[in-house]
């Protein structure tokens, strides 16, 4: 990883360079880092959960000290992650979307969005976490959240819209603090 600004500030060769660098405010650097990590974790885990599913337990039930002969298995389903569990848009929302007149006009859009959403969250989350094109990836994450917001407005999920609004504020704050960004793979863009 590079710490370009820090190195720049340490440099004695170019005073011009130091003038163009922001002041090394540790608090702002920590703030930028925390915000970046929060948004990254939020996106990554949401993307990972798109691959989660529950399957019946294979653990046989013991009755009176013996494994039952009926084939009864433990009641609690087991959560697992697998490609075949992938569901970009949750089923309950998908049903609502398919009934919307706008979506009926663009039948191709929903399956495409469903396919792209999970991987997009994972990729953007990882880019933000490792500081790869941080500002661009934050901007793209903001666009993704706007698309989610539009969908929720469509099906009148107002609480979800408000909830995504908070995410948007955090993204804007992260962008504002991006000049204090440290610990990144590629700071450009």
């Amino acid at each position: 990883m590079t710490t370009e600004s820090t190195e720049c500030c340490k440099s004695t060769e170019s005073k011009e360079c130091c003038k163009s660098c922001p002041p090394c405010d540790l608090g702002l650097c920590y703030g930028a880092l925390l915000l970046r990590v929060w948004l990254a974790v939020r996106a990554i885990q949401t993307g990972v959960e798109k691959y989660a599913g529950f399957v019946g337990s294979d653990q046989p039930v013991t009755i009176d000290g013996k494994v039952n002969s009926y084939g009864l298995t433990a009641a609690d389903p087991v959560k697992e992650y697998a490609m075949n569990h992938y569901h970009g848009v949750p089923e309950a929302l998908m049903t609502k979307f398919t009934k919307e007149p706008i979506m009926m006009q663009m039948k191709w859009a929903l399956p495409l969005y469903d396919k792209v959403l999970g991987p997009a969250l994972l990729i953007l989350g990882l880019m933000i976490l490792f500081g790869f094109l941080t500002r661009t990836s934050l901007f793209l994450l903001g666009l993704l959240y706007i698309s989610l917001t539009w969908g929720l407005i469509l099906i009148k999920e107002d609480s979800g819209v408000a909830w995504l609004g908070i995410h948007m504020i955090m993204i804007v704050m992260a962008l504002m603090l991006s000049k204090h960004n440290r610990l990144c793979l590629l700071k450009k863009w």
Binding site: S57, D58, V61, T62, G65, L72, T73, A75
Partner: protein, 469 residues
Amino acid sequence: METPPSVISRRDFLAKSAAAGAGAGLVLGMPSILRAAEVSPSKTLNVALIGHGKQGEVLFDAMRNIPGLHFQAVCDIWDEHRNAGIGRIRSLQKHTPKGYEDIDEMLATEKGLDAAVIATPDFWHSPHTVKALEAGLNVYCEKMMSNTIDGARAMVKAMEKTGKLCQIGHQRRSNPRYRYTLDQLINGNKICGQIINVNGQWNRAIKSSQNIAYNPKKVVKPDILSKYGFKDMHQFMNWRFFRDLSGGAISDLGAHQIDIFNWFLGTVPKSVFATGGNSYFKDREHFDNVMALFDYDTPQGQVRAFYQVLTTTSAGGGYFESFMGTEGTINISEQSAYTNIFKEASRAPKDPNAPPDKNEPPLSWDTLVMRGYLGRKAAPAAPPPPEANGGGAIKAYASKPPEGFTLPGELNKPPHQPHLENFFASVRGEAKLNCDARHAFLSEAPIYWVNPSALSKQPIVFTPEQLSV
């Protein structure tokens, strides 16, 4: 028509059953009297899918995880369904099965078939099953056996004449949760005590009961529809609502659950009194709601059972069968969410001088929980004080809320899979059918009289002729 020598006649059957000391009671609970087919246990079974609509797809999905099956052919009169089935099989076993519109052509062409899985509309069950059995195939056929009792009789006769296996799709009969409940809780540990009442229902929302729509650009050709007994595409898609093609809601939904009444009680009812009507879907031939009362004589005593099927309301607990006794009640359903077990809280203290009660549970409920026979539910919320809901007068009549329990385990497979596994294991000679056509007939026969009772608004007291093959 002359009775083939291998077929057990009605009188012989009743006489043998009575001689066994239990009439239809034991018969309903006995394993198959039929021999298993002579197929090597290690052999891959070649299977034909006959009918690949919605239910055919459900059965196929349940068979996906059963090893040793090779899906050789798909038969469906609609190329949309047929091609969908071919595609599913191709993606599962990397082999393209042959598709047929006509079952006769399929049976004449395909060699080496071991079994057929039939999921066609009810009025085709009997002809298709008889054809497949006579062609030497073992058959798994969806319930209801037929839209007519004579169609069901023909299936039993064909099974017994050919000596092939015929399993009817009452899939709860192979469900571990149901088998455990009957064996261990009702019969073994007698947690219900004496069962006095049975109650069952399938409450389905209007939304789930609508006509099935179709794309006008993708229809079955009129001459093919006509050839196979359908007036038009609407009737083809919605055959369940027509009297000549199906038994209606009591058959579609009720048959599964009334079968459980008979299986668990170990006998068949002696009478039915039903009512029903087209209260909402007025253009349908079959009733959209039916309520039926059955009277049973069981070894424990009289049992009265109530069953309702609603297609206009989903509230009220969904679908379950409830066995209500002096000691406890078991609400069992294919859905875990609808399954509940309750211990009676307000039973009178036992008289120490009273003679032993044969229906008394041998173990206490606490012991059953400790040993793992039952799980315990969280304690119910305390009822509000009497002052809050009408004063002490109500308290005098109210019962203490019963304590809740759960089954100790679940089924971790699609609900139809164990029944299909039992069928294929029986074809291999490794098991006996859990619901062969004769046992299914005994249980289904009373159901054929529900609609006539509702139509005539008269109770029907069954005669042996009405319930026998």
